[in-house]
């Protein structure tokens, strides 16, 4: 337990990367060709962007990968000076050893100021014989057009249920984790396609030192049993404020959830309830307002009670 599992089990090769087959097939071809173009990786957290960049650099350069890869995080180094200084300096110097080019991997490239992005454009072209860029971000729309124009854009999707499961099962086996079937499924549900989140939740659950059950998963991930939340909402819509409030109390106390944890789940549950679309929209709006008040206010229970009261009223209109 003295290691970070997400690092320990980060795939070392493109072949080990989970999911994103359409991406890894292409990247493997680049390794085979010993060549690549500038790349832009877009997609949500925990879907393999950094992993793919690192794995490709290692396969491309072998033992010389460290000297030929520069990793930057744009949210730490985001200004124009970095682009005109550090990046340009690295880009213009010759690759080391037998490598025919170097790679600059810039994570969170959407955090670069637009001035810095503009300053990056000609550097990407000027030194492209000896330096290729991999930019990574959540949304391509945050990257200026001239940069997008210079890159091949690869979209990373949230991982599928089966991919998450396969990967988690491997760690479970290697680490000898004791986990029951419901808990594994719960973990996958909670992760919503984010492998890093799933592995972190698994490591925390395992550290509690007993068989991992669904309850353990909910506790470590700040989630309540989705059914309990759904029942609470339906009870309030059915007009029973007191009963719904008891359920709220038990969710917050039993699972040790904060108001923000609860409201997050409430929000995602609305779309599963059998109410009309405009009712869903009213509830989403109200819930957002309540979450805002939780952030601003001092007593989250009061804010959530206000939400339950609103549900009673909406439900009353339907009865």
């Amino acid at each position: 337990m003295n290691e970070i599992w997400t690092e320990k089990y980060r795939p070392r090769t493109l072949g080990e990367v989970v999911g994103q087959k359409h991406v890894t097939e292409r990247l493997k071809a680049y390794v085979a060709a010993g060549n690549m173009s500038h790349l832009l990786f877009t997609g949500p957290a925990g879907t393999g962007k950094t992993t793919c960049a690192l794995a490709m650099a290692k396969e491309m350069f072998g033992d010389e990968w460290r000297g030929n890869l520069m990793e930057l995080n744009a949210s730490d180094e985001r200004g124009i000076d970095v682009v005109r200084g550090k990046i340009k300096e690295f880009a213009r110097t010759a690759p080391l050893g037998s490598a025919s080019f170097k790679i600059i991997f810039m994570d969170e490239a959407d955090a670069l100021t637009s001035d810095a992005q503009a300053a990056l454009r000609r550097t990407m072209e000027r030194y492209s014989r000896i330096c290729r860029f991999i930019l990574s971000c959540n949304y391509a729309s945050k990257i200026i057009d001239p940069i997008q124009s210079r890159c091949a854009i690869f979209r990373f999707s949230p991982l599928s249920h089966d991919d998450l499961r396969e990967y988690l099962e491997r760690i479970i086996e290697l680490e000898g984790v004791d986990i029951d079937e419901d808990a594994l499924e719960g973990l996958i549900h909670v992760a919503r396609g984010d492998l890093r989140k799933a592995v972190n939740a698994l490591q925390v659950s395992a550290s509690m030192g007993r068989t991992i059950t669904l309850d353990t998963v909910y506790q470590t991930t700040g989630m309540a049993d989705p059914e309990a939340v759904k029942t609470m909402l339906e009870t309030a819509l059915g007009g029973d404020f007191f009963r719904a409030r008891e359920m709220l109390d038990s969710i917050m106390i039993e699972y040790g959830l904060s108001g923000q944890d609860v409201i997050r789940q409430v929000h995602s549950t609305f779309f599963e309830l059998s109410i009309t679309d405009s009712e869903k929209v009213r509830l989403v709006d109200k819930t957002g307002e309540i979450e805002f008040r939780i952030v601003e206010g001092s007593n989250e229970r009061i804010q959530l009670e206000a939400l339950l009261a609103y549900l009673v009223m909406i439900g009353g209109g339907r009865r």
Binding site: H22, V23, E25, R26, K28, A29, Y30, V31, A32, G34, N35, M36, S37, H38, T42, I80, D81, V83, R84, K88, R92, S100, F101, D115, A119, R121, R122, T123, E125, R126, S128, R129, Y139, A140, S141, K142, D145, P146, Q148, S149, R150, C151, A152, I153, F154, R155, Q260, H267, F271, T276, D277, S278, K280, V281, V284, D285, T287, G288, E291, F292
Partner: protein
């Protein structure tokens, strides 16, 4: 060393530039006019969106004419003094020191001075660049080409660009022209790719030739063949098309919850999406009640976006997204479904035009903030109004700001609502001449001390002593 295709197939001569025959012809004629002395327009500005051949054409022109090239772009620091060293000296003298930065500067002969990305000069990092560019445009002995995406960002800083520079507009090549160029490259590289595949790549590039070549390269590297199936490896480049899908799902689909999923699937953030929905809403909802309900939801979505910005609490994005999709979609109760075309947000084009202006404002405010010992925000709300009036009324006040706040001509111009190279702004940067008649509107009072302004005390109270 392996050549990148967008470089490898960058046309070396104007003959090979794809599309834009009119622009290329104009460029050639202008270059020809340099053969018989210095033409009336010494500089040309090439304007247009990314990836359509502006930089390529400039370099190809130099090749065709046998000229050397001196290039400066946004990756170089371009303060006034650096620009002066590189561009103006380079433009006046035929000998030119060779450093790694200069491309192929042949000794003797003509040199084409290329200021690439000239719409990206950055406040303090590129201090004093604009006056030097103005000087260059008017006095250069060598041909000068400026390259911009956003011509307005440059012309609003400089009247000289508008009046003294030859404007050449570049447009997006047609899909057919791009597909033909791709076919030629595919042939040279021995890539197996059918016409339908090349058409799709060309369509996806949306007029961006460089992007099309990039996609051809990245899809074929290591395999040598592209099929319709393998096209899926790359994410959509055509964000415009994706956004039309979102707008379509909001306004043209009976399953309102589907709109939410469409937005999630598209590679964009809600701050961009709301602009698209806003643009189309009044065209789609013709019934006044629908319109009010639709805007109510959009207004709520905007509130959540504002909360994200202020607090960096990204959870609120989820509410904003739901309100702008499902919320707006279910707001239609009376009106008939619209059949008109969906629109590109006018706001986005306006914002891209005003980007440079906003940067200028930010830099100016922060300089005034230091001088007034307060925040930029406070300057904007409480002080800017008075500073503006004082600038317009008093030459001494302008000189004080230039000296104490370090204002640059474009910043003073911003305060006065004038161009940086207008007469009044320029005169404030020139040493006051004893014999020169004072400008008619100038403050004729005694020369003021910098800290006790010879200005209306009522105004200066709130201005300079506001802590």
């Amino acid at each position: 060393m392996i050549e990148d295709w967008t470089e490898k197939y960058r046309p070396q001569t104007l003959k090979d530039v794809i599309g834009n025959p009119a622009a290329v012809k104009e460029l050639r004629a202008w270059a020809g006019s340099w053969q018989s002395g210095t033409p009336s327009k010494r500089a040309a500005v090439l304007a247009g969106p990314p990836g359509i051949g502006k930089t390529t054409s400039a370099i190809a022109l130099a090749n065709d004419m046998g000229w050397g090239v001196v290039e400066m772009n946004a990756s170089d620091q371009r303060t006034g003094s650096i620009l002066r060293d590189v561009a103006i000296k380079g433009s006046r003298f035929n000998t030119f020191s060779e450093t790694g930065e200069y491309l192929d500067a042949r000794s003797g002969g003509r040199k084409l001075i290329v200021l690439d990305e000239a719409d990206n000069l950055f406040g303090t990092a590129d201090r004093g660049a604009m006056p030097v560019i103005n000087e260059l445009i008017r006095t250069t002995e060598q041909p000068v080409v400026l390259i911009v995406n956003d011509l307005y960002a440059l012309t609003r800083k400089s009247a000289a660009v508008k009046s003294d520079v030859l404007r050449i507009d570049f447009r997006r090549p047609t899909q057919r022209a791009i597909a033909a160029a791709l076919a030629a490259i595919a042939g040279k590289e021995g890539i197996e790719a059918g016409p339908a595949v090349l058409d799709r790549i060309a369509a996806d590039a949306d007029g961006d030739m460089r992007a099309a070549v990039r996609n051809l390269e990245s899809l074929s590297l290591g395999t040598g063949r592209i099929t319709m199936d393998s096209l899926g490896a790359l994410g959509g480049r055509n964000v415009r098309k994706d956004m039309f899908d979102v707008v379509g799902a909001v306004f043209r689909n009976n399953d309102h919850v589907q709109a939410r999923r469409t937005l999630m699937d598209v590679d964009t953030d809600p701050e961009n999406a709301i602009l698209w929905i806003d643009e189309n809403l009044p065209y789609e909802y013709t019934d006044p009640g629908d319109l009010v309900r639709g805007y109510e939801k959009l207004s709520r979505a905007d509130i959540f976006l504002g909360r994200v910005r202020r607090r960096q609490y990204y959870r609120f994005w989820a509410y904003a997204s739901d309100l702008m999709t499902v919320g707006v979609a279910s707001a239609r109760m009376n009106g008939p479904p619209s059949r008109g075309r969906l629109r590109f947000p006018a706001y986005l084009s306006m914002m891209s035009r005003s980007r440079a202006m906003r940067t200028l404002k930010r830099v100016t405010l922060s300089k005034l903030a230091v001088l007034n010992n307060t925040s930029a925000r406070r300057v904007e709300s409480d002080i800017l109004h008075y500073t503006r009036q004082l600038c317009l009324q008093s030459d001494d006040y302008r000189r004080m700001l230039i000296r104490d706040a370090g204002l640059e001509p474009d910043e003073l111009g911003f305060l006065m609502g004038m161009k940086a190279d207008s007469k009044l702004v320029r005169s404030s940067f020139e040493p006051p001449a004893e014999t020169a008649p004072a400008p008619p509107e100038a403050d004729r009072g005694p020369v003021p001390e910098p800290d006790t302004q010879a200005v209306d005390p009522k105004k200066s109270q709130s201005n300079l002593f506001d802590f």
